[in-house]
């Protein structure tokens, strides 16, 4: 049986919006990369080793996300233009609770 899919909206720095379906359990980084949404590099493929998949979580969604692990916290520290609503999208897993989540993408990941 195929996994359930939920909607994610990624908004590029320039304002271009992409709404795609991401399978339950996949990371929100994978959702972006596999749909070729520009703005998420994810060089390491989701190993939390590169900090090139930063997103800004839209208001209302932050509290639905699990807290940051120590590793995510420290890796994020070194991403460019970090804001209070920054997360590494490789660490966020798709679930029913996140159906419809909106993520803004930074200008650059490097």
């Amino acid at each position: 049986m195929a996994a359930a899919k939920y909607k994610v909206t990624y908004i590029e720095d320039g304002g271009k919006t992409h709404t795609v379906e991401v399978a339950e359990g996949w990371s929100l980084m994978e959702g972006a990369v596999k749909h070729l949404i520009p703005g998420i590099d994810a060089d390491c493929g989701g190993a939390c080793a590169c900090a090139t998949c930063q997103v800004y979580v839209a208001p209302g969604w932050q509290e639905k996300l699990p807290p940051k692990s120590d590793m995510e916290e420290t890796m994020l520290d070194f991403a460019p233009d970090v804001r209070p609503n920054s997360r590494l999208s490789c660490q966020l897993r798709m679930s029913a609770a996140l159906d419809g989540i909106v993520l803004n993408l930074p200008k650059s990941q490097h």
Partner: protein, 402 residues
């Protein structure tokens, strides 16, 4: 008429090249040829989460299935190239077809180095490079089985860690006197040796494998004059660049297709990127890198050069390895003569080893130490000169050193 680009090799570098060529505005047809059954996928998880069974196959693929068609890239899987005919600018496939190109990119990757000792061809002797390799291993990779791992490098040790976690009886044979000798400092080798032993992995250092024995399938490893029973053997003794097509076509290769800092070969119509290449590194001499970073960055630079906007490739190489709950992150290329500076306490399983060369940070190895790695990478890029006593002082946050 628009130009046609052919890419031989459908791995991380090939997929990156397609993406970068489109991002850089190339609008002509692209054909990518890959000899595996799958579209480009990530190899790093194969010896980690995919083997462990916590990462399903569809997640390995770098792009959605529809991506290649949408990007105007004809992807030919299960297809091998037989020859490059440079004079007529065609690639001949093993099925007899010929692909014409204006520009050709070689992202042929590397293949595993095979053991040639007696018994090396026995069933039960495995290698790990592809999805098919891991799928072929899964049936026998079960709790209670005895696995003999030949080679204490990244692949061997990642498999050892997964094996220990899954309840296999694991023995690692390494010909050198320490683990990951080619990749990390002696300090790291010692730390990882202790971690593996703690997990119940038996380490046989300075022990080269002489033969495998078995009736119809492998049953034992002969190493260091001793016979060790084994149900499974996994060999991880490095890779060899796939340079045959290039060599047959008369392109220079020295254990890797020789390219310049724009990923150009000696033929003005042919570029190469990723594990298959030997390139001028940022320190000015030829190096061969086997890593995701090089596949991505060199492919980006190849794409730039192919669209006529070459940019010098001088990114800092970086690597990572997951073993148990330890995340090893490395930036830069160490040399045996570097001065080593320890920051943090290996006993706390959170520390870094900085490599200083002429007083400047040349490499960093970080274990569960993201700040040391992230800042360290920047320090490597700028060849920052920092006093050893500053680097080792945990009361000074890494951020203040950048």
């Amino acid at each position: 008429m628009s130009e046609t680009i052919v890419i031989i090799g459908a791995g991380q570098a090939g997929a990156q090249a397609v993406q970068s060529l489109r991002a850089e505005g190339f609008t002509g047809p692209i054909t990518m040829v890959g000899d595996e059954a799958y579209p480009p996928y990530q190899r790093p998880p194969l010896s980690k989460a995919y083997l462990l069974g916590t990462f399903e196959r569809p997640r390995l693929f770098l792009k959605a299935d529809a991506y290649y068609a949408e990007a105007g890239c004809e992807l030919l899987v299960n297809t091998s190239a037989k020859a490059i005919h440079r004079a007529e600018r065609t690639v001949e496939l093993t099925d007899g077809r010929k692909l014409s190109y204006d520009k050709l990119l070689l992202t042929t990757g590397a293949r595993v180095r095979r053991l040639k000792c007696p018994g090396a061809d026995l069933p039960g002797v495995h290698y790990l490079k592809t999805i098919a390799d891991v799928d072929g291993l899964q049936d026998v990779f079960q709790a209670g089985k005895r696995i003999a791992i030949v080679g204490g490098g990244y692949i061997g040790l990642e498999v050892a860690a997964v094996g220990a976690k899954r309840g296999l009886d694991v023995t690692v044979f390494e010909a050198m006197d320490r683990l990951m000798a080619r990749a990390v400092s002696p300090e790291l080798s010692a730390f990882y040796a202790a971690e593996h032993e703690k997990a119940g992995v038996k380490l046989k250092l300075k022990t080269g494998v002489e033969a495998f024995e078995g009736n119809g399938k492998v049953e034992a490893v002969i190493a260091g004059g001793e016979r060790t029973p084994a149900d499974i053997v996994l060999v991880g003794i490095g890779v060899i660049p796939c340079d045959e097509l290039a060599v047959q076509a008369g392109l220079a290769s020295e254990d890797g297709i020789v390219v310049d800092q724009n990923a150009r070969t000696g033929d003005p119509h042919i570029w190469a990127a990723g594990d298959c290449t030997r390139h001028v590194g940022r320190e000015g001499h030829y190096i061969r890198l086997e890593c995701v970073q090089n596949a991505i960055d060199q492919a980006k630079h190849a794409a730039l050069a192919m669209v006529g906007r070459p940019k010098t490739y001088s990114e800092v190489p970086w690597f990572w390895s997951d073993q148990y709950d330890l995340k090893l992150q490395i930036a830069g290329l160490a040399r045996p003569t570097d001065r080593l500076v320890l920051r943090g306490d290996p006993g706390l399983r959170k520390f870094a080893v900085f490599h200083l060369r002429d007083g400047a940070v040349a490499a960093v190895e970080a274990v569960n130490a993201a700040p040391e790695y992230m800042i360290g990478k920047k320090l490597v890029a700028s060849a920052a000169k920092i006093a050893p006593e500053t680097l080792s002082d945990m009361s000074i946050p890494m951020k203040q050193m950048a």
